[in-house]
């Protein structure tokens, strides 16, 4: 049974991994997406994540459930909203499977699917100004 949550506070990788750990799973792959200090040549101070929250909650669970249908895995995802500082993690994925290959493959697929289909957007804040990230584009903002 897949687990997916949108959360407002700090994430904890052990807490997410505990959601999928079980005696029959010999492999647990965890992925932590952390805020990088630079983007397209700009020095990033922090990010702010916004979402279409009710749909993002549903879609996160949909992608996690799809991964469980495609591979022999159990999946857990937490994504944070609001301000996240450089070096701090904004998303955690944990995938458990009997053997490692499925867990690695599913974790990678999950992260790609999340970026493509889950309605969450990040805004990058620089020394001066801020821009929305939209797919592979950045869009200047009035702020």
């Amino acid at each position: 049974m897949a687990y997916a949550e949108i959360v407002d506070g700090p994430l904890d990788i052990e807490r997410v991994a505990a959601r999928v750990t079980a005696p029959e799973f010999g492999a647990v792959v965890t992925f932590s997406g952390n805020v990088r200090d630079n983007s397209r040549g700009e020095r990033v101070r922090y990010l702010v994540y916004d979402s279409y929250r009710p749909m993002a909650e549903k879609e996160l669970l949909v992608v996690a459930s799809e991964a469980e249908a495609k591979w022999s895995v159990r999946c857990a995802i937490e994504h944070r909203l609001g301000r996240v500082d450089v070096g701090v993690c904004s998303v955690i994925i944990a995938v458990a499977s009997p053997h490692r290959v499925d867990a690695f493959d599913a974790a990678r697929w999950l992260m790609d699917a999340l970026k493509e289909r889950v309605p969450i957007w990040k805004k990058e804040y620089y020394e001066s100004g801020a821009r929305w990230v939209e797919g592979s584009d950045v869009v200047d903002t009035a702020e």
Partner: protein, 81 residues
């Protein structure tokens, strides 16, 4: 019928709001709402095709017929993670 339109990320800047109300003829589709929006906010003409539209929190094709009270979300390409 009356629809609630939602906007996210840079679309909020273009619409000047995160939420608008639209009155359209009965039988209107998702495509008709997009036309309604472009007529009022021409900057969407170039930008909307890059994004996606959801109705009541489900991705929707432009041919989908809408009902009174539907929530139509206009979403730019996503950037979670």
């Amino acid at each position: 019928m009356t629809l609630t339109l939602l906007f996210f990320a840079s679309y909020t800047d273009i619409a000047g709001a995160s939420e608008l109300t639209a009155d359209l003829a009965d039988g209107s589709t998702v495509g008709d709402v997009a036309v309604w929006l472009v007529e009022r906010y021409p900057r969407f003409a170039e930008i909307l095709p890059k994004g996606r539209i959801a109705v009541n929190q489900e991705f929707a094709p432009s041919t989908l017929a809408l009902a009174d009270g539907d929530e139509v979300a206009f979403m730019p390409p996503m950037s979670g993670g």
